[in-house]
């Protein structure tokens, strides 16, 4: 009978017998990507958190976790605070395992470097989100082996930024420019992190920490790789039809056809039948065709109307970004005015929606397959221009901005607004970024890092554009550390303002 007391789990491999082969290493790093597609990350709530707080988006959701997010009025024990936090740390846990367990594996060195490069990149990416959204956070860099290892210390945001810079720097040296050129288990797999992705994120991190010269060098390096270009049709960046295109430096892969059919909401343990869907489309989509939890602001709408194209047309990005009231506007094939009334002046999200492919998002429910483009070449160009301007080279910024404007037919900025001062150029870049990246979750990061929330004039201006800023209070430019973390992890204190 004593022998019978040893029972082995017939369902799963133990951690001790894993991490022996190259396949284990690749399977391991693949799973690190998996945390990008959870409800808390890019399946849904990272979109909510990054978008609703900006002046490009607002919420009239009946769900308080979305409704209150952009109003800076979340509860510290709510889902909006905990879901992204949880998803990112699941990614960190996985990345740490790869970084710790892959080096001893006997395998092809080039492949090993790529695996480790991806793990560093992804850990950097997860910590980027944690520092950017949650400010001061715990920073585990090793695997928890037993219960005494569960309590990572909270560190300052600066410390996290340093770690992010270190991880992206390592990733940039280890990663290939393209997986078309490599041999091995990962050959010709697009969507994996590349050297360009690591450099672009390294530049972005340096920009966020105001190290402009160093940031500029990274953006210059991305441009010099020569593999990226803007796609001619702006809208192609937000549909399922043109994924992993030359403008895309890093994107999260979603699919309607690959994987299981049960929504993999997480943050529980992944199941074999988990689908690879994203739920942004049904969450953000227009009333009657989706839940309409997030909507563009009228401020975004009006700003698009400020500058017509050189051919005196409405900026085509407006049409790609939102549904708005105009006689010819179709919403999922139906007339806007017939659906919402002639007088209705509401605007609705179109970016990342499946308009044109399905009669309403309700038909597919939460099963949208549009990849989330996290880093576009347009962003690199505008961030590079910003660095140049901040370094005092305002004139040199023009051509990079104009590349982005030219794609949508806007007149040459050097002609329209020549000789801008550094300060004027800052505002111009802000305007360009606002329109180019509306509803892409970049605006609030910009507002915060530019110090507008601390500038009474700018804050009043924001409040006029988006009344949700009226309930902003100091400190709430960061999300609250989830109560669950504070309660379970001694020494973790809440961010100021919550």
């Amino acid at each position: 009978c004593t022998k019978q007391l040893t029972q082995t789990n017939p369902n799963q491999q133990t951690a001790q017998t894993f991490w022996k082969t190259a396949t284990d290493a690749v399977d391991g790093v693949n799973s690190v990507y998996g945390s990008l597609m959870l409800d808390g990350s890019y399946m849904r709530f990272t979109h909510v958190v990054l978008n609703t707080r900006g002046d490009d988006a607002t919420s009239n959701s009946p769900w308080d976790q979305i409704y209150n997010c952009g109003k800076f009025a979340l509860n510290v024990d709510g889902f909006a605070a905990s879901a992204p936090f949880t998803a990112y740390y699941q990614g960190v846990f996985r990345a740490n395992q790869v970084i710790e367990s892959v080096p001893p594996i006997v395998m092809d060195t080039a492949l090993k470097n790529r695996v480790l490069g991806q793990a560093y990149f992804l850990r950097g990416l997860y910590y980027f989100h944690l520092a950017d959204i949650y400010q001061n956070v715990p920073m585990p860099l090793t695997i928890a082996q037993s219960s005494s290892d569960y309590y990572a210390r909270q560190v300052s945001q600066d410390t996290v930024w340093m770690q992010v810079i270190s991880d992206f720097t390592k990733a940039a040296t280890l990663l290939p420019v393209s997986y078309a050129d490599v041999t091995g288990l990962d050959a010709n797999q697009f969507g994996r992190a590349t050297k360009g992705a690591a450099l672009a994120y390294l530049g972005k991190t340096l920009l966020f920490t105001k190290q402009y010269a160093a940031a500029a060098a990274q953006f210059q390096a991305v441009i010099n790789l020569g593999v990226y270009s803007l796609v001619p049709n702006y809208h192609d960046n937000f549909t399922e039809q043109d994924e992993n295109n030359p403008e895309s430096i890093f994107e999260v892969q979603f699919s309607r056809s690959v994987g299981g059919t049960t929504q993999g909401w997480g943050p529980g343990d992944p199941q074999s039948n988990w689908a690879k869907y994203e739920a942004r489309a049904i969450t953000f989509g227009p009333r009657n065709f989706a839940y309409c939890d997030v909507q563009p602001t009228k401020a975004l709408y009006y700003e698009f109307l400020q500058e017509p194209t050189a051919a005196n047309q409405v900026d085509p990005r407006l049409y790609a970004t939102m549904f708005y009231n105009t006689p010819t506007m179709k919403v999922y094939g139906q007339s806007f005015q017939a659906t919402f009334g002639v007088a209705d002046s509401e605007v609705f999200c179109r970016k990342y929606e499946n308009d044109g492919f399905v009669a309403s998002e309700f038909v597919w429910q939460f099963a949208s397959g549009i990849n989330s483009r996290l880093m576009r070449y347009a962003d690199v160009l505008l961030m590079y221009a910003e660095c140049l301007n901040e370094e005092g080279n305002t004139a040199q910024a023009y051509p990079y901005i104009q590349q982005v404007r030219a794609r949508v037919g806007l007149a040459d900025l050097a002609t329209v607004k020549p000789n801008l001062t550094q300060a004027q150029m800052r505002d111009q870049i802000a305007h360009e970024r606002f329109l180019e990246f509306g509803l892409e979750g970049k605006r609030f990061d910009d507002i915060r890092r530019w110090g507008w929330l601390q500038d009474p004039t700018k804050l009043a201006w924001l409040q006029a554009r988006d009344p949700e800023f009226k309930t902003y209070t100091t400190g709430r430019e960061y999300m609250p550390i989830p109560l669950a973390e504070i309660e379970a992890n001694p020494g973790v204190i809440q961010n100021k303002g919550w």
Binding site: N68, R94, A180, E243, S255, P270
Partner: protein
Amino acid sequence: IVQNDKGDPLQGVSVIAHNTRNSFSAGAQTDAGGVFTFPKLPSGGEYSFSFSNVGYESQTLSGYRLKPGTTVSLVVKLLQTVQSLNDLVVVGYVAVRKRDLTGSVGIANPDDVKKTATYDIARSLQGQVAGVSVQGSGEPGSFVNIKIRGVSSLNDNNPLFVIDGVPIINEAPYDFPIDDIESIQVLKDASAGAIYGSRAAAGVIIITTKKGKSGPMQLHYNAYYGVQNIPKKLPLTDRVQYQQITDAAETNAGLPLAPANDPTSPQYISNVNTNWQDAAFKTGIIQNHDLNFSGGGLNTTYNVSLNYFDQTATVRGGPGEPKYNRYNFNANIQSKAGIISFGARASYTQSHKQDLTYPHLHPNIGNEIVDLDRAIPTVPVYDTSRLGGFGGTNQITQKAIVLNIIGMNNLLDNYSNRNRFLGNAWVEVEPLHNLKYKMNLVYDWTDTRDFFFEPQYDLGWYYLNTIAYMTDTRGSQYTGLIENLLTYHLETGRHTLDLLAGQSFEKDDEQFLEGIESGFKPPYFYSFGTGDPTTASVQSGEQTATLSAWLGRLNYNFDQRYLVTVNFRRDGSSKFSPDNRWGNFASVAGAWNISNEKFIHLPKFINYAKLRGGTGTTGNQNFPSNYAFTAYINSNANYLFATVPNAGPDQVLASGSIQTQVADPTIKWETKVTSSVGLDLGLFHNMEFTAEYFINTSKDLIAQPPIPLSVGATNTPYVNAASLRNSGLEFTLTYKKRVGAVDLSVTGNAHTLHNKVLKLGGTNDPIYGAESKTEVGHEVGEIYGYVTQGIFQNASDIAKHATQPNAAPGDIKFKDLNGDGVIDANDQQYLGSAIPKLYYGLNVGASWKNVDFSIFFQGNEGNKIVNGLYQTLMAGQYTNHYIDELNYWTPTHTNTNIPRPIIGDPNGNDRASDRWVENGSYVRLQNTQLGYTVPQGMLARTHVVKTARLYVSGQNLWTLTKYRGYDPDIISDGLFSRGFDYGSFPNPRTVMFGVQVGF
């Protein structure tokens, strides 16, 4: 003829005739007339005749010599025994007389227990035994929470049920009909339960089922049929009131009015006014039928019963409404031949439970009762324009997300079926006098099916389902158990010694296979392959656990004055790593029969007195993970990559494997140290009284305390996390008296319970539940939240108060408890105990001639309940409101304690606070019964019916409580959020009629 002391015939008395000369024996039983016959007893003798019956003093008449061809008549009067000291009590493998008990054993009166109409044995014990607390809901077939002496584990606090010596491992014993019960004993401490070692930590409930008696076959039919209703409705707002409040909430938030609530809008709704409680609540049926055959010869007896139980819903919902039914077959046989005795038992149960609806797409949103009450009056129950035919809200005009629960119940199919076979066989050999060897084999097999089908439907905003979905999960689990026991009994002079040594081995295995498919199109066929085959997937899993034990016990009795019991058990469990696998558990208890002590002269009214006490340890490995000490690789952590850049949706799956969960390799046995002292008294020859004090300390409790999210694990690992202490006093009083022609009996019990957390996890960090906090020095799941201080009347009121983000006039003012000038999470405090200070039950029975009457009160005193349902109905949002919300604050209506309604609730008026904490005390008339036994004279003419009793009974007829919810008897998670009532399904009021017929 056997009679009672009044001269009335006694039925069912067992009579054994024994020829002392040649050891010939024969058995018989008395019929309804009290008559017993031995048609052809061999002549000779001397014969002795022994008469025994439960509740009566046994009697033996001896010295009869029978001559051939003659008839002997005997008329015997049996005296009723009030005191049960000679009753046999089963405590771990053997039975002892109650007077020889050393440990804490509660005995339920099976007749009282059976008066409760329920599917669950645990439910029927509510209020019947001191130290036993039961929480249940009114959902047919739902789980019942039973605890002995409070929370002693952070996992499973349900006691071990042992039915006829067979430990029932898998789930609550709701697979077993109550009619089969012959006796119930509750083992409350280690000295009584330690022999069950690893299982006994939460206490043991020992059930003995009916056995046949020697004599001709007896046939009994028992049945009841009753109607059930939800006895209370909550006062909720009607259409006009709903629209008024919701309009105010939108206006306060600066939002335009929802057109359906805006009288100036063409879409204003004025012609729908659904009262959802009226629409949903209905009369349910509860019925039970039990057919029992029993009998046997002198050496072999048998008992066979067939049972059918059926309970239908008290809420409307067509085919999907909750209901439960069960068929049961149960047979046992025991026989003796020389030195060998053996027996076998087989029972088979088939049950069907239609579950409450929880749509798979919308987890954790609410439940049947919450959804029902939140439904708004402007939605019709039926709406033929929507797919499925049921009403729902409109996203644009009504803005409210509410579920039409009547529609959902009709549309969804969600059930579980269980088939369970439980068999055991035993053989006992007595090679030497008083030395017995027994082997017991048990096989318990359960086969389950959980089915869920969600068709396409349109129940309005948010509850639109375009993709029909089905899951069908088949599972089976078995427990195999072998026990080898050696017992020896020695009596010499004034010494009595009982020894028990044994060994047991048990194996539990469970497996499941789950199929999932979606994309079904009407007309629906509930089989895989009829949907979209590309969506089909299957999952399966299996887990096994083994447990090996050595056990021993010594009972020593000196001169009926001093009794000692020593138990030892060594358990090995596969659930722990080899280093931590074995646990040793022991106990010692003693008793002193004061009344048998010659030098002590007790007052005359004390005819029996016993002082007893004991201490010991039990172990627990009962947590729902068999492989918790090892970390595993999850091979489903997949991702996908594109094979071609700049193209459409052409990704391929990339397999992903990684450790997603953390495990603690050092996990080991939980131990519980129990100590108790008790005093048993027999008074005035008609009263029994027991008082007992206990103190239990549970150490190294296996739990899953929350770990930081920053660990990044998808689980909370099992660790030895906590220590708890429970202590309390228990009293039981039994009194029987004849007053004139009336036989009166009163049984009362009461107990107190104090719970304290001694240690919590590695860091002693508190654990938070729903409006509760579990912290060292406090109770498990003590109620916790903010303290309100009225309402902010104006801006200066807010300015004068501590900073409370987003507060505006009309919002709730929360108290700055720590005085730091800011209202935040640190301004919360304990708001009351979810554990009653006193639990009690009172049974009063009376009989007069052919009429009997009983009444049973049960209650709790001194606990608080967080009324989570009220909280959600007072949120002042788009969903429906409790009528109190009408009294909301406005600048012109300031004399109120109800805050302004505002969409989004920026001030958090609805947060956990003392607003929701209510007194949970109640007294309930749990059961009353009036019975009539048909006189023998009338029955004699039928020649078929021997006995007949008819009764009417009422259950949950009356409750005295201040609690505002449906029912203060709530089911919660029973642990960290134990005082939180979030729409617990109310217990129905039952009126029923029953018959008990003997043939």
